[in-house]
């Protein structure tokens, strides 16, 4: 019997995991006796932590207005970094045993330093991961040496060696997670995608917050069910979401469920979307080198995508976006600009050029700590109307 997507327990589970992430991590810690480490940037090789029986959880904000971070963190730093920091300063991350980051953007680096200095975690580590990963032939080798140092630091902290088979098993679980999420994303290529952008955002967010093994089980079950479900909503315009870090579920809900024009996000290109999981780690003899290759070659964050341009655009991310826009038959693109996110906003002029060339309309929205629902609904409705969508009622 066909079921309605909204009633799938797996989707509800993702949503619940995101809502109760702190409880989940503390429960996990109690049940397994393992450590929990917060990571600030998705370039952190979670696999190494997981291989050491550590639960890596992404540091995310709470979408709650809170000015406590303003005392330490410049007003012109992005709202996401403020949100993460104020959440930490409130004590919501006190259960963490440690924090780790890589050389990410300046704002998140600052969050790492402040969390380290103000929250007194047992352990912290900063990985000087290559900053320029596009067209940089030396990045992989250098990244491998820094990841090796990181592995040793984790071993020293936990007091136990990470064996080759530990790391192999961890990579396998992570690869499986990536593969399953990609499969689900691929179902969205067709007409009337079985899941919405909100569902997929919650799926990816949950994977950054819970044990990958548990997440994989739910993903497998969801994949089976998705063949036998139907959507009770009109697809409307097929939208692509492009951004830096975005976990604004309110916005997804607004666009897909609450405004007067039908629309569905068919793809999210940001680090809480496809950039987090799109490719696989090729296991070879040297697993740390394999990890380095994966993280250097992944779809880059705008802050790391600055390869050489021989008079033409060679941003690796742009080629990916171009391909996806065609494959997923995108009608319009929303450029979700995290206010003050320099790396992303400096890609926006190039992205506008790219979509102009593809003849796909784009619309830029600037995001803050909370979502201005009224203003955004008017603006997104106007955008949908301009790309030819007709009102629902």
């Amino acid at each position: 019997m066909l079921k309605l997507i909204e009633n799938l327990s797996e989707l509800k589970r993702f949503s619940e995991w995101v809502d109760t992430r702190h409880d989940y991590a503390q429960r996990w810690k109690k049940e397994t006796g393992g450590k929990v480490v917060g990571y600030i940037c998705t370039y952190v090789p979670e696999e190494i932590l997981y291989a050491a029986n550590i639960l890596p959880v992404r540091i995310l904000g709470s979408k709650v207005p809170d000015s406590s971070s303003r005392v330490y963190h410049h007003d012109m730093w992005c709202p996401f970094s403020h949100d993460c920091l104020s959440t930490a300063l409130r004590g919501d991350f006190d259960y963490l045993d440690g924090i780790v980051t890589t050389l990410s953007c300046l704002h998140m680096r600052q969050v790492f330093w402040l969390m380290r200095d103000k929250c007194e975690f047992d352990w912290s580590y900063f990985i000087p991961f290559p900053h320029g990963t596009t067209n940089n032939p030396y990045a992989e080798e250098y990244a491998a040496s820094e990841l090796e140092n990181f592995k040793v630091a984790v071993e020293e902290w936990t007091g136990s060696k990470i064996t080759k088979s530990d790391l192999e098993a961890s990579i396998e679980i992570y690869n499986k997670n990536r593969k399953l999420m990609k499969k689900i994303y691929e179902l969205r290529k067709g007409d009337n995608p079985p899941i919405t952008g909100l569902h997929s955002m919650e799926m990816v967010l949950a994977s950054q917050l819970v044990d990958k093994k548990a997440h994989n089980e739910v993903l497998e079950s969801l994949l089976e069910k998705l063949e036998n479900v139907e959507s009770d909503r009109e697809q409307g315009s097929r939208l692509m979401l492009i951004g830096s870090e975005n976990d604004d579920r309110d916005f997804m809900r607004l666009v897909e469920y609450e405004i007067n024009y039908p629309a569905t996000f068919v793809f999210e290109e940001h680090c809480t979307g496809a950039r987090y999981f799109w490719s696989q780690i090729s296991q070879n003899n040297n697993l740390v080198e394999a990890l380095a290759k994966y993280y250097v070659d992944r779809i880059p964050c705008p802050s790391k995508d600055w390869g050489a341009a021989e008079g033409k655009d060679e941003r690796r991310r742009f080629s990916f976006i171009k391909e996806i826009a065609k494959e997923y038959r995108v009608d319009g693109t929303i450029l979700m600009q995290q206010k003050f996110c320099n790396p992303h906003e400096l890609d926006i002029p190039g992205l506008r050029d790219l979509f102009k060339e593809l003849n796909i309309p784009t619309y830029t929205l600037e995001f803050d700590q909370t979502t201005p629902v009224g203003q955004f609904s008017t603006r997104v409705e106007a955008f949908l109307e301009s790309i030819g969508e007709e009102i629902l009622f």
Binding site: V71, Y72, H73, H74, D75, M76, W77, L103, C105, L106, H107, R109, Q110, W113, L114, D117, F126, P128, F129, P130, H131, G132, N136, P137, Y138, A139, E141, Y142, S145, P302, S303, W306, G307, A308, A309, E310, G311, K312, D313, R315, Q337, K339, F340, N342, P343, E345, L346, D347, I348, P349, G350, R352, T364
Partner: protein
């Protein structure tokens, strides 16, 4: 009424001529058969100079500062960027530079506007979030080749062979790439000569600002800004003049004893440079003796020790000569990479907030400052990093500190009466009355 004047620097006119000529040369480089490249001011200019004696460079930040100094042109540039939808909060230097390149205009030091000189290539170090993205976009738009250098390796006190080699390898690649895009043969001999000059320049700059530790300080900050980007000026003469002042106990201000020593932290507000500095000097007789920026941006310092403390001691050029014997390309590249990674003061601050905090705290002692004015500069995220961290550290130490806000390259975002009000309040807190009130 006490009349305060800035003690004139005899050699200034010579510097001014060199700088004016340099910008003119940039605008005419290609017409005359030379090469022009552009990139961040953090880039290692000695590397492209191996392409010939007729290679000129347009450093993005110093050019943007020059541009910002011309208020009307800067305002017009900023408005153009607003119109074409470039984020208002993006690096303000980048915005005015993009405007110059996209509109195809270039401003000389006398304010003459000429055609934007298209570089042969863009080559840049990337240390803040904007650097490579800055030249990437403009290179694509103008169809010019571009390459960036990754210096992610971490602070000077954690360097090892692998880290240095990572940067050196990229430099080797960069040279091959430059040969390819320019069609020129690279001269290692020239590279070696320019490398020695670059290292000497860095050592000299730290020596020059180090003289300001003397009381009274021989030079004020506005003048320091006029000199530091002129790489091939009459530096010997300048240094001698400053040494002479120190020897004779002559301060930067004439007509008044140094009544206070004020430090800053960031780049200055270029469109209102005079209104900012001269207000303090003329009204209060205090000397803005420098800033973290002007001390650390161009000099070679001992910098971080093993414990991560910042050592404000200039590196001696003789020490570098002893350490590096440059006989081939690799040695020159290695000396360049290691010196910048280890001794460039400002570079260190991007790797940990504690380094910047310690640098600022010890700077206030070393330069015997009375107070510090922090510029919450909305135009530069890179150097604003850790600003509130050291603000709190200074307060905890009981060191007088005040903040003011604006945008260093956007005249629309610099409120002079408000800035003056902040200075007045800060002086009152320091117990320094206006000169007029005491005459």
């Amino acid at each position: 009424m006490t009349e305060v004047k800035i003690r004139p620097i005899k050699v200034w006119d010579e510097f001014k001529k060199v700088r004016a000529k340099y910008y003119k040369d940039i605008s005419e480089a290609k017409e005359k058969g030379g090469l022009l490249w552009s990139g961040s001011g953090w880039s290692l200019a000695n590397i492209p100079s191996g392409l010939g004696d007729d290679v000129y460079f347009l450093y993005g930040e110093p050019y943007a500062a020059t541009l910002a100094w011309f208020k009307d042109y800067a305002a017009e540039s900023q408005e153009y960027m607003d119109q074409i939808g470039v984020a208002r909060d993006a690096c303000s230097y980048l915005r005015v530079y993009w405007s110059s390149a996209l509109r195809g205009t270039f401003i000389l030091t006398d304010g003459t506007v000429v055609k934007y000189p298209e570089p042969n290539f863009y080559w840049t170090v990337h240390i803040c979030d904007s650097h490579a993205k800055w030249y990437q976009h403009i290179a694509v738009r103008r169809g010019v080749p571009m390459k960036a250098l990754d210096v992610c390796v971490g602070p000077g006190n954690q360097l090892n062979e692998k880290k240095i080699r990572y940067v050196v390898n990229q430099l080797h690649d960069s040279i091959k790439w430059m040969e390819k895009v320019t069609g020129r043969e690279y001269s290692d001999e020239l590279l070696i000569k320019r490398t020695y000059q670059a290292l000497e320049y860095m050592c000299r700059w730290s020596r020059i600002v180090n003289y300001n530790k003397s009381v009274p300080a021989p030079i004020e900050e506005k003048s320091l800004f006029s000199f530091y980007t002129v790489f091939e000026g009459p530096w010997d003469k300048l240094e001698k003049e400053i040494q002479e002042r120190v020897k004779k106990g002559l301060g930067a201000l004439e007509g008044v004893e140094e009544r206070g020593r004020i430090l800053g932290d960031m780049q200055p507000p270029w469109p209102v440079l005079t209104e900012f500095y001269r207000y303090m000097e003329y009204k209060y007789g205090v000397n803005p003796i420098g800033s973290l920026y002007i001390y650390a941006i161009a000099g070679a310092w001992k910098a971080l020790d093993e414990k991560g403390n910042f050592v404000w001691e200039p590196v001696k050029f003789e020490e570098l000569l002893e350490k590096y014997e440059l006989t081939n390309r690799d040695e020159a590249l290695r000396a360049t990479a290691e010196t910048f990674l280890r001794h460039h003061g400002m570079w260190q601050t991007f790797y940990d907030s504690s380094f910047k905090r310690k640098a600022v705290l010890s700077m206030t002692e070393e330069w015997k400052a009375d107070g510090m004015l922090l510029f919450m500069n909305r135009g530069c995220e890179g150097l604003a990093i850790s600003q509130l961290d050291y603000y709190h550290a200074l307060r905890e130490k009981g060191f007088p500190v005040a903040t003011w806000e604006g945008n260093f390259a956007d005249p629309r975002d610099l409120d002079i009466p408000k800035i003056h009000h902040t200075i007045d309040t800060f002086m009152a807190r320091l117990g320094i009355n206006p000169l007029d009130s005491e005459s």
